[in-house]
Amino acid sequence: MPQLKPNLYSFGWMIREMFQRIIHLIHKSTAAITHGDFSQHIPLIGNGDERDDVAIAINAMLDGASQQMDTVRQTSNAIAHDLRAPIARARSQLEDAALYAHTEAELRTAINHAVEQLDHVTSICDALLRIAQIEAGGRRSAFTRFDLVPALQDILELYTAVAEDRGITIETTLPATLPFHGDRAMFQQAIANVLDNAIKFSPSGGTITCFARFMPPQPHSENDGTIELTIADHGIGMMAEDMANATKRFFRAEQTRHISGSGLGLSVVQAIVHLHGGQLHLANNNPGLSVRIDTPLPHTKISKITDIHR
């Protein structure tokens, strides 16, 4: 069939031209991105063919990258700000003492205050490194199966004394066992941070409830069920609009600015919960704050979880 030959050629030429145009557009967009302009999108032709599919996919990727860049920028600004504040205080205390202190006692007081501020800087750096390390996900290799109940009781024991000392009661409702999959020490740190907050924001005479249960898997679900852990206080609570921001690094609600803390506690919790494939939910406890952590149990052939809970 010799008459097909020119058609094949022209078809090949069309494909070639199409790719050239796509590549040209991608090249134009990537050149703009190299110079930091994420707003440069690949224009759609509008006829719904493969060229548009490619453009849509690339544009979506650009939007995702751009959002992440924004988060990084905001976080960097927040880090710079939150590190500057204690450094500024330490610096002025030292400079003030160098210029105006008359006695050794005054000098020593200023130096001790400055050291405290620098320790605060260190604790911020530690928390940030910890979050970065958790988010990198490398620790997942250390995940094991363990019973969450004794792990919870351990950490509750540590904090119950602190709560009682402030006239706060912790009421606990736990089943006999709770199968769990994760990093025990890390998950305990998440719980410790939540309890720490609950105690910090509870009034004397208040009650904190800690409740955990196993939720059986939904039909066709991709896990062996979920562990639901709720820690709720009757403290000052959180405004609805603050809840959305509460896990952001350095976020501190307006009414808590006077209470000590790094503003990183819930960010650490969030990172740990995400590493475990779980979800962190904040809700109003009327009054107070209710923190719920849902963690899925991954499928396992040898697990007898359902037997335990029957």
């Binding site: 001790n112 351990d154 004394a161 602190v162 000392d165 020490a185 720490d196 910090k200 000590s260 803390g261």
Partner: protein, 225 residues
């Protein structure tokens, strides 16, 4: 005790050396890995403070591994800015006995050093009874007595007291207690340790004439007659 300090940062080295000398210890200093290695392998020390990242081509972990390969069991405290959990694990796996991250407070470093040296000396003879003044605890029956009077302690309170007694006469920091008694390796924001110490005091000190648990300002606690 005789301490070898291998640290390249001059400010940190002077600060640590001065503090240890003031506490009555003999301090040998090395400012790079090569000198550190030759001192560590040729002389006898009670404890070695070892920085990890050192100039001169010989880094801290290399010195540590060389020592351990030569069956040298001198306690080694790693002092490093590498603060990652994985880095700590690497340091302890290489044969380190403790790990302090920079920045650090001198009281924390000193308390940990003394605990290390003490542990090294005590390991030879396992003890079943510990006493300090008129306070005695039996590690097998878990009985606690002060001035002949039996004291009831919760299991955790017993472990806290046992830890303090094993380090009697030494400063123990809040971090050491959190790690040693609770096995937690994070920094709680609230004063959890202080509260537990105060409860222990209620039971072992309050009913008696003189206190045994002392607060050491800016450092921690000490059990002492």
């Amino acid at each position: 005790m005789r301490v070898l300090l291998v640290e390249d940062d001059q400010t940190v080295r002077n600060f640590v050396a001065k503090g240890l000398a003031e506490a009555g210890h003999l301090v040998e200093q090395a400012e790079d890995g090569k000198n550190g290695l030759s001192l560590a392998t040729s002389e006898k020390f009670d404890v070695i403070i070892l920085d990890r990242m050192l100039p001169g081509g010989v880094e801290g972990l290399h010195i540590l591994k060389t020592l351990r390969n030569q069956n040298n069991t001198t306690p080694v405290l790693l002092l490093s800015a590498l603060a990652d959990v994985d880095e700590k694990v690497a340091g302890l796996k290489a044969g380190g006995d403790d790990y302090v991250t920079k920045p650090f407070s001198f009281s924390e470093l000193q308390a940990r050093l003394e605990a290390l040296v003490r542990r090294n000396r005590n390991e030879a003879q396992p003890q079943t009874r510990l006493t300090i003044g008129d306070l005695e605890i039996d590690l097998l029956s878990r009985n606690v007595k002060r001035a002949g009077q039996k004291i009831e302690l919760q299991p955790r309170e017993f472990r806290l007291l046992e830890f303090l007694m094993r380090h009697a006469g030494q400063v123990v920091t809040r971090t050491m207690l959190l790690e040693g008694v609770w096995d937690y390796h994070f920094d709680p924001q609230t004063n959890v340790i202080d509260v537990h110490i105060s409860r222990l005091r209620q039971k072992i000190d309050r009913p008696f004439h003189h206190p045994l648990v002392h607060t050491i300002r800016n450092a921690g606690y000490m059990l002492q007659e």
